[in-house]
């Protein structure tokens, strides 16, 4: 586990986790500041977009009387060098941590409560009664870092680039906007999205930081946006310098639309691939904050009351992908069920997350769509009596014609070598022999793309905790998209209803139904394993107005973060 290679992989694959946009953690109240923060100035939206937030985690609240201290540079770790500095193409948290603060989006998630959507470049929005038209009213007087003014044309050109990327540009989130048929700009400060079908997920998708807005003229010039000189947005920070392997530096944008923000003078990300080095640098006071996917060296922090270590379940879920095209027995539902029954999820949560994760469905346990734990436990294989589950698994295998068990290859990549061996061990207890094959990420992805695997361990990694993002990629009967060759037409219909349902409460009920049934039935060949955690280490006495989130992608603008010393 502590080998060099693994660390390297953690660093590159932190991106994987990065792309998971999670919901819901409410911390201390943001302190009153002499001037308003980004959001409160804006009028309320005419249509409230999401359900009520669920408070989940108490983080030392900041005393409300405290005045904001301005200035200072925030230092944190990057799990490696950024790979793609074009926000629309980028996929890793490292990329976002570097350039996210340079950009604004139409809407944004509340940095203290990710179930809330707040205004950003759009100060208000409304949705037509049929859910087919979304109109955004834009903030006026906003300037890009290059001095050009922000208008509706910028929004139009950016979303067109995201939806229909030009040759040579890879837009992984273009599919989010597959319901948008047209974008109109009735005037300089109004943008209208016309949809081909109702899509309540749209408001989430224009709020994710990956849909940040560049100046239209820059996109139209065909410039390579991966180039550091083209990191031009309207965000609270501007690009300052980047030395590969050394530091990625941002400085305060003095022309930010909220004249009072940001509080910090700058942000520096330090690419560090060795987690020990990160922990030491934090202890030595060189970093204000560090985040990792591996458990931090808790012993080093013991007895240090000023340090807070928080492990938060992520939006990512480890899952087993049973490929019925390459392994005939998976066509039998009893075999798939036996595999799910054999897994001891609670044991894995204990072993892999120091007990900090929780048993949940596919939707995030602290989010607005969470399947209640008592319901999760009703799903087959999620109950408390593991011995009974194992007996049942053996019986199902016998009924399916495999009384002596069966054997298959389990493909995994070297981000985490313990989870696959734990799985193999648990499967062995019901007579299933899983031959674990750990590959380098490149090879693994190649095999997945070619569908050359019997069983693969991978993430379900939604960009945001929202049903379309969580289920869209695998609740499908498209042969080219399906990773397993298995589906249920009934559940696909249910999913399609969820996609269009405008009533929040109904949508939630249907999401619960889909979540439960995909845990319970394995009809898509996807077996839920467990949800890993993201670790946040920081000194609450120094880092102020910052809330650790289950998904660190959404909190990275740091417009209102400040340092006490």
């Amino acid at each position: 586990m502590r080998t060099w290679t693994r660390r390297r992989f953690l660093s590159t694959t932190a991106g994987a986790l990065a792309s998971a946009l999670l919901v819901a953690c409410r911390g201390g109240q943001p302190e009153p500041t002499p001037a308003p923060t980004t959001a409160p100035a804006a009028p309320s939206p005419t249509t409230p977009p999401v359900s009520l937030p669920t408070p989940v985690m108490e983080v030392t609240p900041t005393p409300t009387t405290e005045a904001v201290r301005r200035g200072g540079i925030l230092h944190f770790n990057l799990p490696g060098d950024p790979t793609n500095l074009d926000l629309h193409q980028a996929t890793t948290s490292t990329d976002l941590w570097c350039i996210g603060p340079c950009f604004d989006t139409l809407l944004q998630f509340d940095p203290h409560d990710q179930t809330k959507i707040l205004p950003d470049l759009a100060i208000r929005w409304d949705v037509s009664a049929d859910g087919m038209t979304y109109t955004f009213y834009l903030r006026q007087g906003v300037q890009f870092h290059d001095g050009s003014p922000f208008t509706s044309k910028d929004v139009q050109v950016n979303f067109q680039r995201i939806m229909n990327p030009p040759q040579g540009v890879n837009s992984p989130r273009g599919v989010f906007f597959n319901t948008v048929s047209q974008i109109e700009t009735p005037d300089d400060f109004t943008v209208r999205f016309l949809l081909s079908q109702p899509d309540p997920a749209l408001l989430y998708n224009v709020a994710i930081p990956w849909t940040g807005i560049y100046p239209a003229h820059l996109i139209e010039s065909g410039a390579d946006l991966r180039d550091t000189k083209n990191i031009i947005g309207t965000g609270p920070f501007k690009f300052k310098s980047y030395t590969p392997g050394v530091a990625f530096e941002l400085e305060r944008n003095p022309n930010y639309f909220d004249k009072d923000l940001p509080y910090l003078d700058g942000i520096v990300g330090h690419p560090m691939t060795d987690w020990n080095a990160v922990a030491q640098a934090f202890l030595a006071g060189q970093l204000h904050l560090y985040r990792s996917l591996t458990t931090p060296p808790l012993d080093l922090f013991q007895g240090k009351a000023d340090i807070q270590v928080v492990g938060v379940p992520t939006t990512l879920v480890w899952r087993l992908i049973l490929n019925a095209r390459k392994f005939e027995p998976f066509k039998d539902e009893r075999v798939r069920q036996a595999i799910s029954l054999a897994l001891d999820r609670e044991a894995m949560i204990q072993a892999m997350t120091e007990g900090r994760s929780v048993l949940s469905g596919w939707m995030h346990p602290y989010g607005a769509w969470a399947l209640p734990e008592e319901r999760v436990r009703q799903a087959r294989g999620f109950g408390k009596d593991k011995e009974a589950d194992r007996q049942q698994a053996k019986q199902l295998l016998a009924e399916a014609g495999f009384p002596n068990g069966l054997e298959f290859e389990l493909l995994a990549f070297n981000l985490d070598v313990t989870t696959p061996s734990l799985i193999a061990d648990q499967l062995a207890q019901v007579g299933i022999k899983a031959n674990v094959q750990i590959l380098q990420l490149g090879e693994y992805v190649q095999r997945i793309v070619a569908r050359e695997y019997q069983v693969a361990l991978g993430f379900n990694a939604p960009w945001v905790d929202e049903p379309k993002s969580t289920f869209g990629a695998w609740i499908t009967n498209n042969e080219n998209v399906s990773l397993t060759g298995l589906w249920s037409d009934e559940l696909i219909q249910l999913y399609q209803q969820i996609e269009r349902e405008l009533d929040v409460e109904k949508r939630k009920q249907m999401t619960h139904e889909l979540d439960f049934r995909t845990l319970d039935e394995i009809s898509f060949g996807m077996v839920y394993v467990y949800r890993p955690v993201i670790w946040h280490v920081f000194r609450p006495g120094i880092l102020a107005n910052w809330t650790p989130q289950p998904n660190y992608n959404l909190t990275e603008k740091h417009a209102t973060t400040w340092l006490r010393s």
Binding site: F9, Q280, Y444, V445
Partner: protein, 320 residues
């Protein structure tokens, strides 16, 4: 004669590098597809659109026949420099600007430090063979050769941190900008790697000196009544030096491996990490440049070592 020898070695070296580059060129293309990684991000988003992958392959020129790709790569080297990374799109030359000098600096200074540790210890332990003090030096090199660099580095870092609350400043400040900070950043990795490298060297020097001590010319020197220090410095050491230097030259690979490890442990932005990340990301152009640079370094250092040896020992030159 000597020039001819040099020319032969240079041509041989060139062919070795070319061959190594070609072999790696072919093999990395067998093991993993960068296009899939680029489209799929970093593994989480595995529902990859095969059409997009094909498109990216075409953009990167990966759909051409292998041999054409290799010719393109060589032509690029001759005409347009080192090319761009597949993954980041950044020019490889930009990355090397910071990383290459640092790796060379760490490698040279660590090797130098190793010699400073090893030369007196090796000599001492040979001359004091069988005595108690020799046992002490043997303990040193047993320990040093058993300790991996990353572990020692970690230990040193934690010790310094917990004892003095100090850690080398993050990142890398160029020596021209602030020499003092630069030295703080590289001192510990150099000491650690130098110490680990010294282990093998001490043992080699000791054996080389012992061997020379048996030679008749040493007895002759002593019989002539030369002072023991003169015998050791002028006759023994000089003769033991050539094989040790050759040994050192052959260990370039080991040295570079050590550099990669301390770069990671001490978080220094050298070549090592850059190249290893490139392998994981299937960033072909970077891997090819890596092989080219490391291969060339290997060949040049071996050549220089041979030249140095033949300068020290004229017999080697004659044998050519």
């Amino acid at each position: 004669m000597f020039l001819q020898y040099l020319a032969r070695r240079a041509i041989g070296g060139f062919l070795v590098v070319l061959l190594a580059t070609f072999v790696v060129f072919v093999f990395i293309r067998v093991a993993g597809d960068p296009a899939a990684l680029i489209v799929g991000g970093t593994g989480e988003n595995i529902t990859i659109n095969p059409e997009r992958v094909a498109q990216v392959r075409q953009q990167l020129g990966l759909d051409k026949p292998l041999i054409l790709q290799f010719v393109d790569f060589l032509a690029g080297l001759i005409t347009g420099g080192l090319g761009n990374s597949f993954v980041t799109g950044r020019p490889i030359a930009d990355e090397l600007r910071v990383r290459l000098p640092l790796t060379i600096e760490i490698a040279l200074l660590s090797e130098f430090t190793a010699w400073i540790f090893a030369l007196p210890l090796g000599l001492f332990s040979a001359l004091r063979r069988g005595r108690f003090t020799e046992a002490l030096t043997r303990i040193f090199f047993f320990v040093a050769s058993a300790v991996p660099a990353y572990w020692l580095g970690l230990l040193v870092l934690i010790f310094v941190l917990l004892t003095f609350g100090w850690r080398p400043p993050l990142g890398l400040v160029p020596p021209t900008q602030n020499l003092w900070v630069h030295l703080q950043q590289i001192a510990l990795p150099i000491l650690v790697l130098g110490f680990v490298l010294a282990a093998g060297l001490v043992r080699f020097i000791r054996n080389a000196v012992l061997e020379v001590l048996q030679e008749p010319f040493v007895q002759v020197a002593r019989a002539k009544g030369l002072a023991e220090s003169t015998v050791v410095m002028r006759h023994v050491l000089r003769n033991a030096f050539a094989p040790t230097l050759a040994f050192s030259g052959l260990r370039v690979g080991y040295l570079l491996g050590g550099v990669v490890i301390v770069e990671t442990t001490f978080n220094l932005p050298g070549l090592g990490l850059f190249f290893v990340e490139a392998v994981a990301r299937r960033d072909f152009p970077v891997i090819q440049i890596a092989v080219l640079i490391l291969g060339t370094a290997f060949v040049i250092i071996n050549l220089l070592t041979d030249i140095a040896c033949s300068l020290i020992d004229p017999r080697l030159r004659e044998r050519g």
